[in-house]
Assembly symmetry: C2
Homo-oligomer: 336 residues x 2
């Protein structure tokens, strides 16, 4: 009992007009006599006609679909951005092909190619890194690309982010001003420029500003996970550290819980500041003092920027990159 599909041709025949006319009314073209329009509309409703977006895409070379690559949907940081992206996308009548990249360069390349093959009108890339092959791919396509959050070393591409270096500097100085001389820098992979350059530079800058020598052994690298944070509590205790600026909320939450479970009292015995202001920082106890980022807006504005690019609005090449304001919120993981 396969339903017979009703096409634009069926409608045209039934309404005794041409396909062109049907196409016009479907697309809201004003050059149609009201009576004709009504007649067509009636037939469309009666037949329950639904335009085939694939055919439309082929003919018009627009798919009203944008690709979004995300390292991991279950990461609250990126999920929040994705929410902003999706909201604005649907506001502009775009659908989103969302693909997990697992931060794996091979897979990233694969999905980007697949997205491009599907003729997405634009692409939003979230990730920690842009490999050479990927950069190549982006440069050799006409499809506009926007980088959202997390990447900086990338002036070639339009991007939306905050000033990670300044934020890290402020967080570190906050700790320094509390008299913590040995502020650790506990981080996700340093090969990601956001960790290995921007934030680390901010950290160093704060140290320099306060005349405390940079100490390599205070830089503690992890994979950025909750588990890694939990496990590092031991090392932190052994080293007798008293404070840390942490680059990821999951990492910070893990560290916090590891410390607490080991009998260390935060913030009395240890002060902690994190970077992303995701739910992690608010759900744990004590809550975590953090740099704040407009997560939703980071995504929303990326998508908004992309719509402009897709509309061919290259007018202001100067503002291809958008830096949003960040903030800072004191919670319970630091002392008053």
């Amino acid at each position: 009992m396969e339903k017979q599909s009703v096409t634009i041709y069926t409608v045209a025949r039934e309404a005794r007009v041409s396909m062109a006319t049907v196409s016009r009314v479907v697309n809201g073209n004003p050059n149609v006599k009201p009576e004709t329009r009504q007649k067509v509309l009636d037939v469309i409703k009666q037949l329950n006609y639904r335009p085939n977006a694939v055919a439309r895409g082929l003919a018009s070379k627009k798919t009203t679909t944008v690709g979004v690559v995300i390292p991991n949907i279950t990461d609250p940081y990126f999920a929040e951005l994705a929410l902003g992206i999706d909201d604005v996308a649907s506001m502009y009548k775009y659908n989103i092909i969302l693909t997990n990249s697992d931060s794996d360069d091979e897979k990233i390349l694969k999905v980007v190619r697949s997205l491009l093959a599907k003729q997405v009108d634009g692409l939003i890339f979230m990730g920690h890194d842009v490999s050479d092959d990927l950069r190549n791919e982006f440069e050799s396509t006409n499809t506009p690309v926007v980088v959202a959050g997390s990447i900086v070393n990338n002036d070639a591409l339009p991007s939306v982010r905050i000033n990670y270096q300044a934020a890290a500097k402020e967080a570190t100085e906050f700790l320094l001003k509390h008299g913590d001389q040995q502020v650790a820098y506990i981080t996700g992979p340093l090969r990601y420029s956001i960790n290995g350059e921007d934030r680390l530079n901010g950290y160093k800058e704060a140290m320099a500003n306060n005349n405390v020598a940079f100490n390599e052994s205070l830089v503690i690298e992890t994979d950025g996970s909750y588990q890694a944070g939990y496990a590092k509590a031991q090392e932190v205790i052994e080293k007798g550290l008293k404070a840390a600026y942490v680059t990821d909320d999951s990492l910070a939450a893990g560290l916090l819980n590891g410390l607490t479970d080991a009998g260390i009292s935060v913030p009395d015995d240890f002060e902690l500041i994190s970077s992303n202001d995701t739910n992690y920082t608010k759900v744990v106890r004590p809550t975590i003092t953090s740099i704040t980022q407009p997560l939703y807006d980071l995504g929303a504005i990326s998508m908004r920027l992309l719509t402009k690019l897709m509309d061919g609005d290259d007018s202001n090449d100067d503002e291809k990159s958008v830096i949003l304001d960040h903030g800072f919120v004191e919670r319970q993981s630091t002392r008053k």
Copy 2:
């Protein structure tokens, strides 16, 4: 400097073969002489030819894309399912159009229609409810649909889930056996059948089994959010309650923190069990005892089932619905 797009025709001409042959090579059709294949492959590489998936979709009536509707990406429960879906999808070479529905019936209908217009090969629906219009939509399309998690009143549609009633019953009985006679049922919206029927029935069943009368005032309805849980702590304290089975992890986490911040000690003064075993239950302190669900698998198996349906494998109509095993894990929010 718009790049001239290279089509199958360009390749055919350059390789001095027909489009059909190029198509065969691209699609791995074995009926091509090795030398010819090589020649075509060379030209493809040289021209950097990429097949246009939209054209392919139009011609073949397959888009290798599936639609996924999700209430909210940032909800860890659904995000985990989405991860499973995406992994299996990419395993089977499908892309995913992921759309947030905000649990809004109007919007759900809109996105489902849009997905169908885009000729997705299949659809995975995550949500709390299926409105009449939506059910209608699903029934009048040939596109296979699988419901993943959360919905039960829906025997018409293939679905993948756990036995929510049995799980709720076990959780409630655990509390009852601890001597808590006044076990509250703190829930998200009761209009969702999963809360208003399945879990509630499990709760009642447990009460009946243990000869404790069902008490309407122990059923506390909320919107299911962390904030709602936090706020409800007050009411719980005023009512002098000592234990609760909670239907959502965010809700449970909020309640827990609300209680703790109000000076109530969990589990000494109050026992708490939650339902979904998301990160929430593991990150808070005390950690939350919970029903466990194979979240990732729920998604993965939904997608796997969908691939079968898309392949037209209607062979076993009997097992259209899959019920996965659930479990239970004791953590710190209940006494030993």
